[in-house]
Symmetry: C2
Subunit: 469 residues, 2 copies
């Protein structure tokens, strides 16, 4: 492809998803694309990396059923109110109606917590920290967009139970640390934002979200973490006996990252040539391109293949000895976003050298003898530039507005994240809504700045407003 | 636990699934158990191993949607007839009925092949060889049994398209080779059986199945591979142009292994103490049990922990320094089926030795200096005995019957797989059905033996009959 994403993001995105083999949206159910091999494998490596971080912090991998009985689903009243308009219902088995309708999980609190009630008997059973990587389902009526908004959402959701509210709160902080590390490895800049009351997760005490800025200046929510307090514990009877034998409700948290993580990676790092995948998630991390001339294929392979063989015990490598010209191979693997390319013809090889090129275009001649040491350095440099470029774009889309006029102008001209003052009232939030300048994302974590409300002028807090996906 | 599985299999199975933390069947939807951490991780490693074999043979990992529109699902008439009684239907989104009902995939032929039709344009696009590891759904009305028969079936399904019927047939042979290697690594004996016409997959030309014998003498189908010919290609218009420009239908195959693989492993290898997991799928492959005495914990750990640290870069290891007595730890990790245990107290350690015990009870003193070399040998010996024990049981349940009287006696007394003659007619199959001596599994692959039909006495083939899950 040869298409700039700036000024043309939506078309660029659709094109790169198809051309690079990420998803095929021609499947006959709206909002349920097919994950193509390159796309699914990237997603799979992305979630494997997240799972590693979760494993290291004492979370256990499990799998819960997809279907939740209506009576179970309806127990937490806030939660069901938040979801009843958008769940999919299983009503028939074979030719007959089911005795009880089943919900396709839109998220798994109501599938998991009745089981937590069986497992959390005593304080010694806590904390429970588990996760699953699977799909959840929403009957989206808005326009769907692959990897961003769909009816089948592939994600990783973690759920925990704790003895006290304080431990639950600490666990939310841990989740934020894990997710920060995750997005750092993907070179994605973000802010952590506490959602306003009206936008928190249905049934939660409070919700933190990770937001990033997409190439069109709109923000994308790429993770959430909720402190559920004992709301769900009360609905599902998740009780334990304390050391003194008292019965107490557990306090719970839930947090998740979806395929939107991959949407962010594709959108933020991609360029006119295609994808730029972070090393951790690339299905092929290093591609070898032998440069043949005058039927010297065997001679080139004789030197270059052993280099490939030695590196493929450490990394996901591909040796591209197809009949295409080198330029065509470069084009193909650049479209796919492979982080590193090792290319070499006979002259280089006879001098004991290869050329190491990263997807940012940085080239370097490297001695074959030193190649194994060179890879981590090259990965590091590649990631530093990915992040620097992404952060520069992100920073250029951070603004502060003092008046509605400024806010309007900024939103028209630049989009991005705009800091304003807000008194916290629903009236002023609704007033902002009417202006169609975006929605209030909430309070940036760690930013306690006080500011006058941009609408009513009363005392308030600094919040971030944006147009969002 | 302390319970023999022989003569008591059903109770033993339920107990070990719960006690070892494989599944929890208290979830409020029949036939949809919760996979507990130890169970799901075993399953996950099992499928990762299968995926490795599929990757090595040119299959690509993908993910298709769970929902199939009714009109798409109904296109292949044999297939829909085979499944319409047992699919689950999604009929409502939110509070309103959907425009078109959706089937929860009972298997993915009808989800995948409309997409194959878009991808297979020319002979150069073939073969297509893909797979996914995910859940499929059946509205089972028979009694469900965890990991064996349920409404949510976690499995790996592979699907291929080929230019010719001959290539499709060869691919079925390749699938049989892959699955043979898979079950060999799990130390599970099996026979490969061509199903009779009346029991082949709905829409297939022919079906091969892998069957094994469970501890109660009933057989369990643990894999299937189907040659679909061009039946589905015609229904879904999977056409390609040949080198001469002619339009031709592709020939397809599909094959799958479900969580039943884990059911077989648990049932066939387990004993009165609990599980015996093959090394490849054990969430913990080697457990370290330090034997403390007289507050010498630090001294023991100082020598044993470095051994653990060196091995855990190669294997999934756990260092159990909990406050339990060594005997309790042995009991716990034996229940879990951990293949190898390394135990050592100060006396051993001061002589530079540890004791290596496998889950079959084989013990050996090993020098710490040589431990890394010893592990592969110990794994090999452990697997050899697992397989030898399983094979001995399997062989004791292979019989031949010449008369209905013999067949009846064998089925009453021993169960297992019984070889009889069958003329191939539906009349005689129905006559056998009425005797309630089991069902005809089909023709053992590679066995072309001719035998007189046990019912009518006409010429026929040797087939295997059994009571099955």
């Amino acid at each position: 492809m040869e298409m700039s994403k700036i000024g043309n993001f939506s078309e660029w995105y659709q094109t790169v998803l198809f051309d690079a083999g990420i998803v095929d949206i021609r499947y006959p159910v709206k909002g349920m694309p097919v994950y193509m091999p390159w796309g699914f494998q990237s997603l799979d490596y992305m979630f494997s990396f997240l799972e590693k971080l979760l494993d290291e912090t004492g979370h256990q991998k499990m799998l819960f059923p997809v279907a939740i009985p209506e009576s179970t689903f309806s127990k937490e009243t806030e939660h069901i109110k938040g979801f009843e308009d958008e769940v999919l219902w299983i009503t028939h088995g074979g030719l007959a109606p089911l005795e009880e309708r089943l919900v396709l999980r839109p998220t798994s609190e109501t599938a998991m917590y009745p089981m937590f009630a069986l497992w959390a008997r005593s304080h010694a059973d806590l904390p429970i920290k588990i996760y699953q990587t699977t799909s959840v389902y929403r009957h989206e009526t808005k326009a769907t967009r692959p990897l961003i908004r769909g009816r089948e959402v592939y994600w990783n959701e973690a759920h925990t139970s704790h003895a006290t509210l304080d431990e639950a709160a600490q666990n939310v902080e841990e989740a934020i640390k894990i997710y920060s590390e995750f997005y750092k490895a993907l070179c994605i800049p973000f802010v952590v934002i506490k959602r306003p009351e009206f936008d928190k997760f249905a049934g939660a005490l409070y919700t933190y979200a990770f937001d990033t800025v997409m190439p069109d200046g709109r923000t994308l929510q790429i993770a959430t973490a909720h402190n559920l307090g004992d709301n769900f514990a009360k609905a599902y009877d998740v009780k334990y006996s304390t050391e003194t034998g008292e019965q107490r409700y557990a306090c719970q948290t839930s947090y998740g990252i979806s395929m939107r993580g991959l949407a962010a990676v594709i959108s933020i790092h991609g360029d006119e040539k295609g994808l730029k995948l972070p090393f951790e998630i690339a299905p092929v991390q290093i591609v070898f391109v032998p440069i043949y001339s005058k039927d010297n294929n065997a001679a080139v392979d004789a030197v270059l293949r052993p280099v490939y063989e030695s590196l493929r015990t450490l990394y996901r490598c591909r040796y591209d000895d197809s009949r295409k010209r080198p330029g065509e191979k470069y084009y193909f693997w650049e479209l796919k976003g492979v982080p590193l390319r090792i290319e070499a013809g006979m002259r280089d090889l006879s001098e004991g050298k290869v050329t190491l090129v990263d997807r940012n275009g940085t080239k370097k001649q490297v001695a074959i003898a030193g190649i194994a040491d060179e890879i981590p350095r090259a990965v590091d440099a590649y990631h530093k530039k990915l992040y620097a470029d992404a952060k520069a774009f992100f920073d250029r889309h951070q603004f502060t507005a003092n008046t509605v006029k400024e806010l309007r102008e900024m939103m028209d001209e630049y989009r991005g994240m705009i800091r304003i003052g807000w008194c916290g009232s629903m009236e002023c939030a609704e007033e902002l809504d009417k202006l169609e300048v975006g929605k209030i994302l909430g309070y940036e974590k760690g930013n306690a700045k006080k500011r006058k409300c941009i609408i009513c002028g009363r005392d308030g807090d600094e919040v971030i407003i944006s147009k969002s996906y």
